[in-house]
Every structure is written in structure tokens, then in C-alpha cells.
């Protein structure tokens, strides 16, 4: 594998030195472009108390193209589909090479605090979120308890 760009080395160092509160991102032992991520469910959200596992991969042309991020832990959220793919503008057309792993993870944490059912990826979840928010939140809490609290 080609030598790791200085940008990735530095970014990883900084991430280790000043971690983001509520988020841990650790590079894989055998692949420095692959990160094991754990995000804690934000307070006052239906995901509170849960620990959500994600995987984050820096593609060959990072930072010119965005990191690939996916939830591994099942989550009931209008902008996250069954495969854990995330609907977030900065991961797509709003990506800028001046953004970092840190900013991406912060945005994902913010997405957990403020779901956006008008820009949905999981249509059935978004639908319920719009027509019956309290039931949707009940489901989200139930999923959090069932899938994100055991370990």
C-alpha cells in the first residue's frame, strides 16, 4: 500500500490527542485508513444511553473525496437506512477537502439529536416520523435499548 499521506497521519494524531466528547475513533491495526468508531447517543434524544458502532473508511483520494461512513449498529432513524448508510449532505455534494474526520463525526452526532424526516433515506421510518412522531420516537428508543445497549 502507498505511504500514508501526511494529512491522514496528522489528523489521526490530533484525533487521539484531543478526542471529540462522546465519540471514539480508532484506526484499525492493519489498515490506517479504516477507523472503528463509537458514537454515544446524545442526551435528550431517543438514542440517549446507546453506544452506536460505525465504520469509517478514507478512500484513496481523501480528502478530495469524502470519507465513507456507515452505521454497524442497527438504528431507527429517518436519515439512516437498513444498511446503515447515512443521508448527510457533507458526505455527498457538500463535501469540502477542508472538512475532517472530526467534523464528519460531529455532524453525525448532530444528526442523531435532530433527525430530518424531510430528507429521508429510510422512507417508512421518515413517514412515521412525520405522521406520528411520538410513535416513531418510541420505536427509536426501543431499538436503542434492544441493539445499542447490550454490549
Amino acid at each position: 500500500m502507498a505511504a500514508l499521506p501526511r494529512r491522514i497521519i496528522k489528523e489521526t494524531q490530533r484525533l487521539m490527542q484531543e478526542p471529540v466528547p462522546g465519540i471514539s475513533a480508532v484506526p484499525d491495526d492493519s489498515n490506517a485508513r479504516y477507523f472503528h468508531v463509537i458514537v454515544t447517543g446524545p442526551e435528550d434524544s431517543p438514542f440517549e444511553g446507546g453506544l452506536f458502532k460505525l465504520e469509517l473508511f478514507l478512500p484513496e483520494d481523501y480528502p478530495m473525496s469524502a470519507p465513507k461512513v456507515r452505521f454497524i449498529t442497527k438504528i431507527y432513524h429517518p436519515n439512516i437506512d437498513r444498511l446503515g448508510r447515512i443521508c448527510l449532505d457533507i458526505l455527498k455534494d457538500k463535501w469540502s477537502p477542508a472538512l475532517q474526520i472530526r467534523t464528519v463525526l460531529l455532524s453525525i452526532q448532530a444528526l442523531l439529536s435532530a433527525p430530518n424526516p424531510d430528507d429521508p433515506l429510510a422512507n417508512d421510518v421518515a413517514e412515521l416520523w412525520k405522521v406520528n412522531e411520538s410513535e416513531a420516537i418510541r420505536n427509536a428508543k426501543e431499538w436503542t435499548r434492544r441493539y445499542a445497549m447490550d454490549n
Binding site: 499521506p5 501526511r6 494529512r7 473525496s65 457538500k94 469540502s96 477537502p97 477542508a98 472538512l99 467534523t103
Partner: protein, 500 residues
């Protein structure tokens, strides 16, 4: 622009040549432009890629004599207004300029404020850190747009290259900083890009968006043709490209007189939706008598149950009446003449008739289109004939009538093809009857000419051919003109009423 171009636009010594004396040149169009027209009425220019670039530069300069802002800013503003100079001027002088620049995603050149201060990484050395590669550089190796976001040259080059080559963005590349809408102007992009291939692609993207945005320009739709047509006002008129292709300026389709652009578009959409399936549907399906869903017979049993889950009507395939009274006669229908069943069949007949009608027009339209595709074959065989005649002491000029005959045949086919689109949507009235007579005449004359050119011509002696061919094509052309004139008159006098 290279050195050669200077001589191209240098008109200074020409005053004594006399050629241009009574030719009124307005300052901006002093370049050697040549006006064409296909029907002696609608004038246009054919532009090469270089002409397009020159035209773009002229547009920018023209606006700049009035608004006096940096040329690159003018280009971004013009692009924002789809290269409509008047609209830009209007907003520039009548509206809020601050809002205008913000909307167009450029910094207001009249007030340079709130640019981001560069991040000084080491106060002593005055070095800056690049937010993309995390390397530290002296300020001279960092650069950015008016917004103040600075990155190193290497990162800019990579960023622009990704946008251009991977995403195909040209005119609207924003600053590399997150959430900064300020656009990269073309001079900066050309300065920062290194690879000549990327530069070339970038220039293509810029000219392409210039042509696509500009109402008065249109690329020739012929594949592999890189000319564009420039007009001074938009109208549904034929224009002929330097490559030979003739098309409608307003919609870009092949020239389609007598039908108008909108109706043709509607027709093409209908054909795309229907053509594959409609023949099969006609032969193998019926519509549910209750909900009109299309039902396919898939077995021997005549007891049909509608597939539409909201309908599920039970009916008989043979008589289309409700199934219930058929009782247990599963394979036979003896109720064909009952009233209820008759009414259902009448309704079916109606929708069948609509389909038949469509197929009638569609088939004729397709036939002429198909025949047109073989025109090159006919040109080739006529060319042989012309050579043969030249060997029999006829001059080159004298045998041109044969090529002319094929030209006219093709024109007639093309006109006929589009008359079927027109006719399909036309509601019947006195004038539509006249139109259909004209159509029939033209169709008959065209087929006669076609048959003669393809077959009969070989049996004639050379002396007779000329007279016969000329008579036939003159008649065809006359019929074509009569038909078109009649339709045009109808447009003027509002005769035509459309269905659907």
C-alpha cells in the same frame, strides 16, 4: 489567445480596401462574421469552437464597458443571468448590488470586507498551515479567492482537478472551504491548474455552459459536430449547420414543418411510452370493463379476474360482460348478445379505436422516417446514373437535376412524416379536410417520384429521363409548398383545433 490571433482581429489597415465601405460595422462585431439563412428570412451565424470563445470574450467586454468590474466577475455574473446582458444590466443598475453579488456567489468588488483572515501558524516566521494537506507554508505558497480562504497551490490543483475531471463541473466550482459559496473564476482556475489535459477539459466545460445557457446559441445536434448556431432572436425556424445538418433552432429537432415544436415533443413522448408495447397490447389484451386496466389472457379459461387489486372485477373474456350470469359454463360464452355485454364491448371498442387511430398515424410517420434513413443509398445509385449520363455527352451541370430530385424527395418525405404528427392531434373541421387532401396528394406524388427514381428510371432512355424527372419533382415540390402554405395560413387565421 496565441500570437496569431492578433493578426486575425487587426482591421486597422483595411480602410482603403474599399470592400467594407458601405458595410455598417458595429464596434463589437467587427470580426469576420457571415450571416446565413435557410429560408431567406431567418438569419444566423455558424460558430466554430474558437468563434464561441471569441464571442464569449466579446460579450464580457461589451458588458464591461458599462459596468466596470473585473472581467472574471463579469463572467460569473453573466453566467448567473444565463448570458442575458439586458437582465444583468437591469439588476446591476436598478436592484440592490450587494444582493446581486451574493446571489451570484461572488465578492462585491466595490467593497472588500469580511474576508477571512489567514490563520498564522507561526507568528515569528509568518507561516500558514494549509487546511487540506496540513502542511506549513510561507504565505507566498498559499493562495485563495476574494473570500480569504487560503490553501496551498498543490491542494488547489488537486481540488480543481477532482471537480473538473470527476464531477464535470466548470463554471460553478466553489471555494474549497466548507460552506463557502464564492465561485472560482476562470482566470484563477487556469492559473492554478497544471495538467494541460485538465485545462482543456475545463475550457470545454466553460464553452459548453456558455452555449447551453445562452438562449441565442445552440449546438448542432448532429453527433460529432462541434459547431454552434447563433441567432439574434429565438424562433422555430430551420437552420443549416456547416456539417449539412438542418434543424429547428427553437427545439433542436430535425426541421419539422408543418408541425410545431410543442406538439412534436408531445408526440415523441407518446411514441417513446407506447411504441414497444402498443402493437402487442392491441393483439393480446383487453381492458377490464370496470376499471380499464389492461388484462392479458394467460390461459384457456374465459373467466377473467381483473389484476387491479382495487377492482378484482369478474368478467368474461369473450363478451366482456360480468361473469356471474355465466354460471358454470366455464369454457363457453352464450351471452354474447346480451345488452350488458354489448355495452361493455362498445366501451372497449372506443378505447380500441383510439389505439388503432394512433397506430395508423404512427405507422405512416415511422415509414417515412425509415425511408429517409435509406436516402444515402438513393444518392449513391443516382450518382451512378449521373456518371452514366455524363459518358453519353451530357455536361456535369446538365445532370444535376437528378441530385435535385433526390433532395426534393427527401424534403417531401420529411414534411410528410411530420404531417402525420400534425394530423394525429388535429380536430376535424372544414380546413382539416383540405389539409388531409393536400396530404394525400403529396403522399401520392412522393411515392411516384420515389418509385421512378428507384426503379423505372433504369428502363427509360436517357433523353426522356430528364423531362420526366423534372416534371415529377416539380410537381412534388409544388404539392409540398401548397400543403405548407395552407397550414401556415391556418396558424395565422387560427383554423387549427387540437385534441388532447
Amino acid at each position: 489567445m496565441n500570437v496569431d490571433d492578433d493578426t486575425l482581429y487587426d482591421d486597422s489597415g483595411n480602410e482603403t480596401s474599399g470592400d467594407d465601405v458601405d458595410f455598417v460595422i458595429d464596434v463589437d462585431n467587427a470580426s469576420n462574421k457571415e450571416l446565413h439563412s435557410y429560408d431567406d428570412e431567418y438569419q444566423y451565424e455558424v460558430l466554430s469552437t474558437d468563434d464561441i470563445v471569441q464571442h464569449m470574450v466579446d460579450c464580457i467586454k461589451e458588458v464591461n464597458t458599462v459596468v466596470q468590474i473585473p472581467l472574471t466577475t463579469t463572467r460569473i455574473l453573466l453566467n448567473y443571468f444565463n448570458w442575458d446582458k439586458e437582465k444583468l444590466m437591469e439588476r446591476f443598475f436598478d436592484g440592490n448590488q450587494d444582493d446581486l453579488f451574493k446571489e451570484a456567489h461572488v465578492i462585491n468588488p466595490f467593497k472588500k470586507v469580511n474576508a477571512v483572515k489567514p490563520k498564522i501558524s507561526n507568528k515569528l516566521l509568518g507561516t500558514e498551515e494549509c487546511d487540506i494537506c496540513f502542511m506549513v507554508f510561507p504565505p507566498t505558497q498559499m493562495t485563495g479567492l476574494e473570500c480569504g480562504h487560503r490553501f496551498c497551490y498543490q491542494c488547489w490543483n488537486e481540488y480543481l482537478t477532482t471537480k473538473i475531471m470527476e464531477e464535470g463541473v466548470g463554471q460553478t466550482i466553489a471555494c474549497a472551504a466548507h460552506n463557502c459559496p464564492i465561485l472560482v473564476d476562470d482566470q484563477t482556475a487556469m492559473r492554478l491548474l497544471k495538467d494541460p489535459r485538465v485545462k482543456l477539459k475545463y475550457q470545454h466545460l466553460i464553452t459548453n455552459s456558455f452555449v447551453e445557457c445562452n438562449r441565442l446559441l445552440r449546438w448542432c445536434p448532429s453527433p460529432d459536430c462541434s459547431f454552434a448556431i447563433k441567432v439574434s432572436y429565438v424562433e422555430a425556424k430551420p437552420v443549416a449547420c456547416r456539417c449539412g445538418h438542418v434543424f429547428c433552432f427553437a427545439c433542436g429537432e430535425n426541421w419539422h414543418d408543418p408541425v410545431r415544436c410543442g406538439l412534436l415533443k408531445k408526440w415523441q413522448k407518446k411514441c417513446d411510452d407506447d411504441s414497444e408495447t402498443s402493437n402487442w397490447i392491441a393483439a393480446n389484451t383487453k381492458e377490464c370493463p370496470k376499471c380499464n386496466a389492461t388484462i392479458e389472457k394467460d390461459g384457456g379459461c374465459n373467466h377473467m379476474i381483473c389484476k387491479n387489486q382495487n377492482c378484482k372485477a369478474d368478467f368474461c373474456w369473450v363478451c366482456l360482460g360480468p361473469w356471474e350470469p355465466h354460471g358454470s359454463s366455464w369454457y363457453n360464452c352464450n351471452r354474447y348478445d346480451e345488452d350488458e355485454a354489448k355495452a361493455a364491448r362498445d366501451a372497449q371498442e372506443k378505447s380500441r379505436a383510439a389505439l388503432q387511430r394512433y397506430l395508423f398515424y404512427c405507422n405512416r410517420y415511422m415509414n417515412h422516417m425509415q425511408s429517409l434513413r435509406f436516402e444515402h443509398k438513393l444518392y449513391a445509385s443516382v450518382k451512378d446514373k449521373m456518371e452514366e449520363m455524363q459518358q453519353h455527352n451530357m455536361s456535369w451541370i446538365e445532370v444535376q437535376f437528378l441530385k435535385k430530385a433526390v433532395d426534393i424527395l427527401c424534403q417531401c418525405r420529411q414534411t410528410l412524416m411530420y404531417t402525420y404528427v400534425f394530423a394525429y392531434y388535429l380536430k376535424k373541421n372544414n380546413q382539416s379536410v383540405i389539409f388531409e387532401d393536400n396530404q394525400k396528394d403529396l403522399e401520392r406524388a412522393t411515392e411516384l417520384l420515389s418509385e421512378y427514381l428507384e426503379r423505372d428510371i433504369t428502363q427509360e432512355n436517357l433523353i426522356d429521363i430528364k423531362q420526366k424527372v423534372q416534371d415529377k419533382y416539380r410537381y412534388c415540390d409544388g404539392r409540398r409548398m401548397a400543403l405548407l402554405d395552407h397550414v401556415h395560413e391556418g396558424y395565422e387565421k387560427d383554423w387549427w383545433v387540437y385534441s388532447e
